[in-house]
């Protein structure tokens, strides 16, 4: 490691050689991983907001079936036409919004944010690399994502509207719904899958090839490990869905029947298809991706939480090795648990036993990971700043979501809970107060590296406490609703199954259960309102936030903080050399309570 002064001059020197690229090549067609990361981030956050707005309208509608949506109702009626006649969401529109909420949240918001944005921005910096291994592939990946996103977005406005068969797009429903939105969905998915595949190839190759000298596998920050496993999940689980997507597309446009059985009678008439297909084939191929995908959503989040916790407890993460092995185990096992989403297709005992067993086994590494995080708190010197608050809240929230996965994992208890709001609550606890909190933590944490300014701590706290409270107000009642038997994906929120409508039905939904809809609605509105300070905070702080006084404002050990702020093209002035593991905080005998990874053992040659 050179002394600091030559480093600076070196950087200036390198810059003088490059002529300034123009706006387009700098911000739009950039091949720099940091710019691409930010592009991913902003696009994904926009989709996140959009996905949430869809859901807010839906929540309003199911709390007030048959009444026009306030404020946006007239707009919906004008833009979308018949499906929102009089500002009331029809069942078709509800189904569109539901399917697109799921699709957008998973494929257009959270994965691009967790993998595309944070992975792109942080991973090369963390491993001491100048860029991704294939910068142009990286750009292509982002562009494919944008194209996919545009196709999905446009599909709302075509006649018939967007896809309506749920984010799972089960055949034969997906093929029999008359809207072309279904076709748009498939084409959009093919672009998004391509984007993810290109990204995955790039990430894995980068992590294998571009680690700085001394950055051995066991010195990688856990975040990098998480992204590495995530990359493999995307790489190997997505292609079967792409294959399935192609087949469903053929069913839709070329009249084949990959997923349509013989003797299908839609609307009372035998369908004019050859038949001979299998609806379950689609489910297998979908969930073969679908389950690994949920770990794609959670692993990067765990990686972020790990970095933030270690940094703000000022101590090393407890059980680094078990974290690494657990995430590898999760990655491996996630490929062989998928059919726990299909128990109630009538699965036999042998296969269901297999999948129940693997499902239970895969919960163990998650337990280990969470345990490691919990234990890491012990003996720390905990700083409660905004990123840390979000990271800490992640733990019990993911805990609730993960634990409620267990009753779903047994086929016998799934019998009662399958396709109820219990499932909705289960996975939202993992993806919303879980993953999204971790992503918020990541934004607050790395914001100073990206911009050189800190976000407002005060408004950060408002954002945090508001989000924590309202997330729980939204999702906690859903457990009760699900346990009472309320089914998901109902455009009237289950009013048809309520005791109010059918008083003599045993097991109908009680007034209390139905009235929770109102509570959830207000929770959702509150949740939306507390995001406003966050959005303002992000944009305001870019220009007006408190300037950081050093390149390493959080006194962190990992390499991304050992670069200039924001890092220049090529990241490091000279190749860093790594001398130690990622979490050398509060080493006994050191004056500083952090020892960066690139600091030599003898205290350096300063």
């Amino acid at each position: 490691m050179q002394a600091t002064s030559p480093k600076q001059s070196h950087a200036g020197h390198a810059e003088a050689h490059h002529e300034e690229p123009g706006f387009w090549s700098k911000y739009i067609f950039s091949t720099d991983h940091k710019i691409i990361g930010i592009q991913y981030g902003l696009t994904a956050l926009t989709f996140l907001l959009f996905g949430f707005c869809l859901m807010l309208m839906m929540r309003w509608q199911i709390a007030h079936p048959g009444q026009p949506v306030p404020l946006v109702g007239p707009l919906l009626a004008k833009v979308l036409g018949g499906v929102a006649a009089g500002g009331v969401m029809s069942a078709d529109l509800y189904n569109s919004f539901g399917a697109m909420h799921g699709t957008i949240m998973v494929f257009l918001a959270v994965v691009p944010l967790a993998f595309g944005a944070f992975g792109n921005y942080v991973v090369p910096l963390m491993i001491g690399a100048p860029d991704m291994a294939f910068p142009r592939v990286n750009m292509a990946s982002y562009q494919a994502y944008v194209v996919g996103g545009i196709i999905m977005f446009v599909s709302f406005f075509i006649p018939g509207g967007a896809a309506q068969a749920g984010w799972t797009s089960y055949s034969p429903l997906a093929t029999s719904i008359p809207t072309d939105g279904q076709t748009f969905w498939l084409v959009g998915m093919i672009f998004l899958i391509t984007s993810s595949l290109l990204g995955a190839v790039n990430f894995i190759a980068t992590i294998i090839q571009l680690r700085a000298p001394g950055m051995t596998w066991m010195r990688l920050p856990f975040f990098v490990w998480a992204q590495f496993v995530t990359g493999f999940l995307l790489l190997l689980a997505f292609p079967p869905l792409e294959a399935a997507g192609l087949m469903q597309l053929m069913d839709k446009v070329a009249g084949t029947s990959f997923f349509l059985p013989t003797g299908l009678a839609v609307g009372g008439q035998l369908a004019d298809v050859s038949g001979g297909g299998s609806p379950l084939l689609w489910q297998h191929l979908f969930w073969f991706l679908g389950h690994p995908e949920v770990y794609v959503l959670i692993l990067p989040a765990m990686g972020i939480v790990c970095e933030v916790i270690s940094n703000n407890t000022r101590k090393q993460i407890w059980g680094y090795k078990s974290l690494v092995y657990s995430s590898l185990a999760i990655g491996f096992l996630s490929f062989i648990v998928w059919a726990h989403h299909m128990y109630l297709t009538g699965m036999g005992t042998k296969i269901s036993t297999f999948f129940q067993t693997t499902t239970m086994i895969i919960s163990i590494p998650s337990v280990i990971i969470l345990t490691c995080f919990f234990i890491s708190l012990w003996g720390g010197s905990i700083r409660f700043n905004t990123p840390m608050l979000f990271a800490l809240a992640f733990l019990p929230m993911f805990g609730i979501g993960g634990l409620t996965g267990l009753p779903l994992g047994f086929s016998a208890s799934d019998l009662h809970l399958h396709d109820t709001y219990y499932v909705i609550a289960h996975f939202h606890y993992v993806v919303a107060p879980g993953t999204i909190f971790a992503l918020f933590a990541g934004i607050y944490y790395w914001f100073p590296k990206m911009t050189g300014r800190l976000m407002s701590e005060y408004w950060g706290r408002v954002h945090f406490w508001g989000s924590l409270i309202f997330m729980n107000v939204v999702f906690q009642p859903m457990f009760a609703q699900g346990m009472a038997g309320m089914i998901r994906r109902m455009a009237d929120g289950g009013a048809n199954y309520s005791l109010a409508r059918v008083p003599d039905a045993i097991g109908g939904l009680s007034d209390t259960i139905m009235s929770l809809h109102t509570l959830i609605l207000w929770g959702g509105i509150g949740l939306g309102l507390v995001q406003i300070p966050f959005i303002i905070n992000v944009f305001w702080s870019i220009k007006h936030g408190r300037k950081v006084t050093s390149d390493n404002p959080w006194d962190a050990t990992t390499l991304e903080w050992q670069t200039p702020t924001p890092p220049p093209h090529g990241n490091f002035a000279a190749e860093p050399t790594v001398h130690r593991g990622p979490y050398d905080y509060s080493l006994p005998g050191k004056a500083k309570d952090f020892t960066p990874q690139n600091e030599p053992d003898q205290g350096g040659k300063h």
Binding site: P130, L281, A573
Partner: protein
Amino acid sequence: MEIPYTAQPRKDTGLYNAKVGIWLFLASEVMLFGGLFSAYILLRVGATPGTWVHGLLNIPIGTFNTAVLITSSVTVVLSWAALKVGNFGRYRFYQAITILCALGFLGIKSFEYREKFSHYEVWLNQPVTVTRGGQEVQTDRLLGHIEYQGHHPAFWSTKTLAEKQVESFKFTPDPIHYKMTPKEMAHARKTAAGRKAEEFEFKAADVKRLSAFVPGHSTYFALYFTLTALHALHVLGGAVVIFYIWGPGAKMWKTDPERYTNRVEVSGLFWHFVDLVWIFLFPVLYLL
């Protein structure tokens, strides 16, 4: 800092970046075709007995096309070997053969496709009597060709008959049907050889279903077209890349020969994979 290991291998892995990249990409391709193969197997074992189409593809042409693809694969490695010893001319020669083979493969494939589009199966309301393997049989399903107003139309379906208000059309049945076992089909073909084919005139009202050999005909043809079209897209893509490196991209040979050779190797790896997929597709679709 520049991106390292674009040409030279990294010490601990022994690999240059693009090689890791292409193998990862191939891994995902294995899963892509793997998904389709799984679909094939599941649909096939789940098919009602006697409904699985087989024996309708042109085996000699398929065999020839297999040979074409294998040849292109060997010329790829030979061209790479030539580059390794610095013989750019020989590289260009071999790779030119590769590209020609690729075009040849696609040409033959499109010819096969076209042939299928004007070949039909008809499902009849009342059985008719045809000669199969020297015997008269009653059947309500026939394979064969259509003649209508002197043309041999392609892509017709039951719907077309109504749309075009066809009253009747001429039908020349094949001597075989896929309900027969391979043995029976071979026998039927042999006995029918040289004989003048029977001809039928079917009224539109006699026809329950009519379908050309298009994806919608049956699960088998759905798989056949999806798999081979996807494969053909890969052939096309590979050929474009190889051509780009061979032609416009060849400048790099002067400036950075090592990286250029790597490019050739990487594109070659992709090409072999495409060949490898075909090695499975051929028996699965043509022979079984």
